[in-house]
């Protein structure tokens, strides 16, 4: 078997296609690295500036008083740019990179403009960018996901379309099978040979790419990032083997190599290029999008109900415990409902996106795209994870405020109201800070289905190739 593999590799190494492949992949990978080196520092700088600003806001509020912190909350949250952005940019232009902290709503002011009733902060999730200011041509960025998903898969077919049919045409297949080699050994040998011949130029290009990125002192890759890169490389191999298996399957069934290539290319175009967009359009037309107005209409009755519920407490003239409690509950509930409404809107939209993603998973290219995004820490799932992180932090901060307030003996412990809360400044260091983290094991969990599906595709195609080759007449 090793003999066959070796023979295949030697055959390929000397061929024209090998040279062309290497040049092509190198050009793509170098462009990718250069682009990343040009843009990543800016991206990181932008993120750091934004984070410093919102951290300053938090410090200012904490220095003022605990009430101020409870009322205005932290500054806006920003999504940490992934250091593996060059692997998959994951719709960076479409997805928002922030979760906003809304200023407290003012329910009522008096004639002089003094605020009589003012609530507390809540989270709000910005919409995806519409991109409607951009009038330039739309193309996909050259990231690893593009290189592997489109180019590498095409190359895999390019190396395998004549694996059997070419040898059959030349008559060497008969010669080989005349030796006492079992057919499955031949198949596995061919498979490994093709896979390795594709992997060699790819690995070379990847090495150059990573060399460029890791030697530059403007960007930095953590050990975890290297681990993720390892996973991504394995993914690329898995994905390539899918197309190698497909190539072998068709090549074994078809007599002429030209016909085999044609079938392969048309299959490739259908599954890799057209299927994702067509299916996504179909999926997105299944459920109607809910407009901003509709969500707004849902909100208004809620607001009125709240007024009804707390009217008496809010309007009573003397400043007593009961009124403060009514205020506190009104503010808190208002903020909670506002947040819940926003969350529901996001969830509704996310479910639409998830449905579209699930349907497009028939295409291996989309599967790969999702997996790459998952492990590179970009894309839609990552955005949801970021939103979840901010929600967790919001809870944490609110608990912190409640706990700190409890520790102050002078406070009435009625949260969210000025008169009911501690007015002392608190040390900014003791306030928990938001940290946007990525979790590799979580990424594995979300990617598990897609990973298994991809593996399943590979196995099905491989066994298909085996069956085809065993039964074929030479």
């Amino acid at each position: 078997m090793w003999h066959i593999t070796k023979r295949e590799i030697y055959d390929n190494l000397n061929s024209l296609r090998f040279a062309l492949t290497a040049v092509l992949l190198l050009a793509l990978m170098v462009t990718n690295a250069v682009k990343h080196l040009r843009e990543q520092p800016k991206r990181v700088q932008r993120y750091q500036d934004a984070v410093t600003e919102s951290s300053d806001r938090l410090t200012a509020h904490a220095d003022d008083s605990l009430y101020k912190l409870a009322q205005y909350g932290p500054g806006n949250f920003y999504k940490k740019p992934s250091s593996l952005h060059f692997c998959a940019n994951g719709g960076e232009l479409v997805l928002p990179d922030t979760v906003k902290v809304d200023d407290p709503p003012v329910f009522m002011t008096d004639a002089e403009g003094n605020r009589l009733l003012e609530g507390i902060w809540s989270l709000s999730y910005p919409d995806a960018n519409l991109q409607n200011k951009n009038v330039g041509p739309n193309v996909s960025q050259v990231d690893w996901a593009f290189i592997i998903g489109y180019i590498l898969s095409l190359i895999a077919l390019w190396f395998t379309f004549d694996a059997f049919s070419g040898e059959r045409e030349q008559g060497t297949l008969r010669l080989m099978l005349a030796n006492s080699i079992p057919r499955h050994t031949v198949l596995i040998g061919k498979f490994l040979g093709a896979l390795l011949s594709v992997s060699i130029p790819f690995a070379l290009a990847v090495l150059v790419n990573l060399l460029l990125i890791s030697t530059a002192n403007t960007v930095h890759l953590t050990p975890e990032a290297w681990g993720r890169l390892g996973i991504i490389f394995c993914l690329a191999l898995l994905y390539t083997s899918l197309f190698v298996a497909l190539g072998l399957l068709v090549s074994a069934r078809v007599q002429q190599s030209a016909v085999s290539l044609m079938i392969l290319l048309l299959t490739w175009v259908t599954f890799v290029v057209f299927m994702p967009s067509t299916l996504a359009s179909i999926a997105s037309s299944f459920s109607p999008a809910m407009s901003f107005d509709e969500f707004w209409q849902q909100r208004n009755p809620i607001q009125e109900n709240l007024w009804e519920k707390y009217k008496e407490g809010l309007w009573s003239s003397e400043l007593d415990d009961w009124k403060l409690r009514a205020k506190s509950e009104f503010y808190t509930e208002n903020a909670e409902r506002e947040e819940r409404r926003q969350e529901e809107q996001l969830k509704y939209r996310a479910s639409q996106v998830h449905r579209a993603r699930a349907i497009t998973s028939i295409s291996p290219a989309t599967l790969l795209q999702h997996l790459m995004e998952g492990f590179a820490g970009t894309g839609f799932e990552r955005h949801l994870q970021f939103v979840e992180n901010t929600q967790r932090y919001a809870r944490q901060l609110r608990e912190f405020v409640a706990d700190t307030d409890r520790a102050d003996p002078e406070s009435l412990h009625i949260l969210a109201v000025r008169e009911g809360m501690s007015q002392k400044p608190i040390s900014p260091e003791s306030v928990p800070r938001f940290e946007d983290t990525l979790n590799l094991s979580r990424d594995f969990n979300t990617a598990a289905t897609e990973l298994l599906l991809l593996t399943l595709f590979v196995l099905v195609l491989l066994s298909g190739a085996y069956l085809a080759f065993v039964r074929v007449e030479v």
Partner: protein, 510 residues
């Protein structure tokens, strides 16, 4: 003789598996995508109709003229030919305000309708994209063995023993292959047009069929170019397998790699920060207007300095019965948009304020006139700056894409469909003209200085008398003119390649 040759080639091609597969796959993809695109178009059209209806209603609810800000909105209908080439039709804004305090552009437009913007994560598709990918591939598959194959089998030598010029052989091969490639192209297009005409929502006019004809013609040039590329490779190589491999490589580079690679390498994102000075300039012009306005009020003995709230609340003029003042403004440095307007809405003006009313009318006459002058001045600097920020990089990107036939094909069909930047600009220039017409109407009817501008007690605004907005897509001739340069480039490349192939083939040994 030529007829025999063509007949032979045709028969050769038609009877092959690749022809059947070509027809099948093109039909499948085009029909499936037409259905999807049709549904998408219908949704956009419904959203458009709904939004237009709502805007119409909203405007009728306003009683005074000054409140037309934000209420006089025009919507851009989806282009039915966007099914063929989507272009910018879906991407750029389709809802634009008409207001005398700014000149509407593409960048001021927003989107109507209830779209889920997260779905923009998925790439969109159109019929030209299918042709771009599949037909080019098919053309190469038809071409790779045209010469190399015959040379390998030895039939080429046989043919050349006849007293026939080599150019004729090439020509026969070219014609027959193009005829074969035309079959899937035409059948699939016909099917999709049938689907379009059976749909009740898509109203194709006679000139739309001319435009579709233009798209077909461009497709033909594109396919022919790829066939010639394949033929050229076939003429240069000895063996079919090498020819096949090279064809595939060329296809991958031209269709897949080059467009994405070049636009990744060259930065074409708009950089509004570079023109922030223009924005400051515009802002200064408006602040100047503000100063003039305050000066005007201070000089007016009756209007006088306002009683309460300082000079910012200067639009109230102590009119009894004033409901509220308004502030209308935009401040968007990224698109160099800045304006603001102050004024008041008076419900029912009480009798004791009546003497003041002519002075207020006089004030509005002055203020609105000066506003419009300011807008003209800002537009002079804003227009070129917007062009530098947004249009130039976009054009640079398109220019770079033209080095691949794919880019030429895309821009030419976009121009035919009217979904290119110029086609969309047509709509916005119509909106600009409409704004001008509305302003002129306000001048003519002395609405800027009328009582109805700010009060609804003696007669209300008559919106139906306003000039109506109507937008017609540009003539087919203009579409053709815009598509022509790219089509000519495609044609030139075709001719050059054909000549090169003839030269190579004549010189080559058989």
């Amino acid at each position: 003789m030529l007829r025999t040759l063509i007949g032979r080639e045709l028969l050769d091609n038609l009877m092959t598996f690749r022809f059947a597969a070509a027809v099948f796959i093109t039909l499948l993809l085009v029909v499936a995508n037409t259905l999807v695109l049709l549904k998408d178009y219908e949704q956009r059209l419904t959203a458009y109709n709904k939004a237009a209806q709502e805007s119409h209603q909203e405007l009728r609810e306003e009683k005074i003229y000054a409140r037309y800000a934000g209420a006089l909105v025009v919507h851009r209908p989806p282009n039915p030919l966007s099914i063929f080439n989507l272009g910018l039709d879906k991407q750029v804004g389709n809802k634009i305000e008409v207001y005398h305090a700014f000149v509407p552009t593409i960048w001021d437009a927003e989107k109507h309708g209830a779209d889920n913007p997260f779905l923009n994560l998925f790439t969109s598709i159109d019929i030209v994209l299918v042709f771009q990918g599949v037909l080019s591939l098919l053309a190469l598959i038809f071409a790779y063995d045209a010469l190399a194959g015959e040379r390998e089998r030895g039939t080429l030598r046989l043919v050349l023993t006849h007293p026939i010029q080599r150019g004729y052989i090439l020509f026969a091969k070219y014609i027959s292959a193009m005829l074969c490639l035309l079959v899937p192209l035409l059948i699939s297009l016909l099917l999709s047009i049938i689907l379009l005409t059976t749909s009740t929502t898509v109203a194709l006019r006679a000139d739309d069929f001319l435009r579709i004809g233009g798209i077909v013609l461009t497709s033909l040039l594109y396919v022919s170019l790829f066939y010639l590329i394949g033929l050229c490779i076939s003429a240069m190589t000895r063996r079919t397998s090498t020819a096949l491999m090279l064809c595939m490589f060329v296809w991958g580079v031209l269709v897949l790699v080059y467009p994405n690679l070049i636009l990744t390498a060259v930065e074409i994102t708009p950089k509004p920060d570079a023109k922030i000075s223009v924005y400051n300039q515009i802002k200064q012009m408006w602040e100047e207007l503000e100063r003039e306005k305050k000066q005007f009020i201070r000089n007016d003995a009756i209007l006088g300095p306002p009683s309460r709230g300082g000079e910012d609340m200067d639009a109230g003029f102590g009119l009894e019965g004033v409901e509220y003042t308004f502030w209308q403004g935009e401040d968007k440095p990224s698109i160099l948009l800045y304006f603001h307007q102050t004024g008041l809405y008076a419900g029912k003006i009480k009798a004791e304020s009546e003497p003041q009313v002519p002075r207020v009318q006089n004030y509005y006459s002055f203020y609105n006139r000066e506003t419009i002058n300011t807008v003209e001045r800002t537009w002079l600097v804003r227009k070129p700056a917007l062009k530098t920020i947004y249009v130039q990089p976009a054009n640079l990107g398109r220019m770079l894409l033209r080095f691949s036939p794919v880019g030429l094909y895309d821009t030419a069909t976009e121009a035919w469909a009217g979904t290119d930047l110029e086609g969309i600009q047509d709509f916005f220039s119509t909106v600009q003209r409409h704004r001008r017409a509305v302003v002129d109407y306000f001048y003519d009817k002395k609405i800027f200085e009328s009582r109805q501008w700010f009060a609804a007690d003696k007669g209300t605004a008559d919106w139906d008398a306003l000039p109506q907005f109507s937008f017609q897509r540009s003539d087919t001739g203009i579409n053709a003119k815009r598509a022509l340069p790219d089509m000519l480039l495609l044609l030139t490349m075709n001719v050059i390649l054909f000549t090169v192939i003839v030269l190579i083939f004549i010189k080559s040994e058989v």
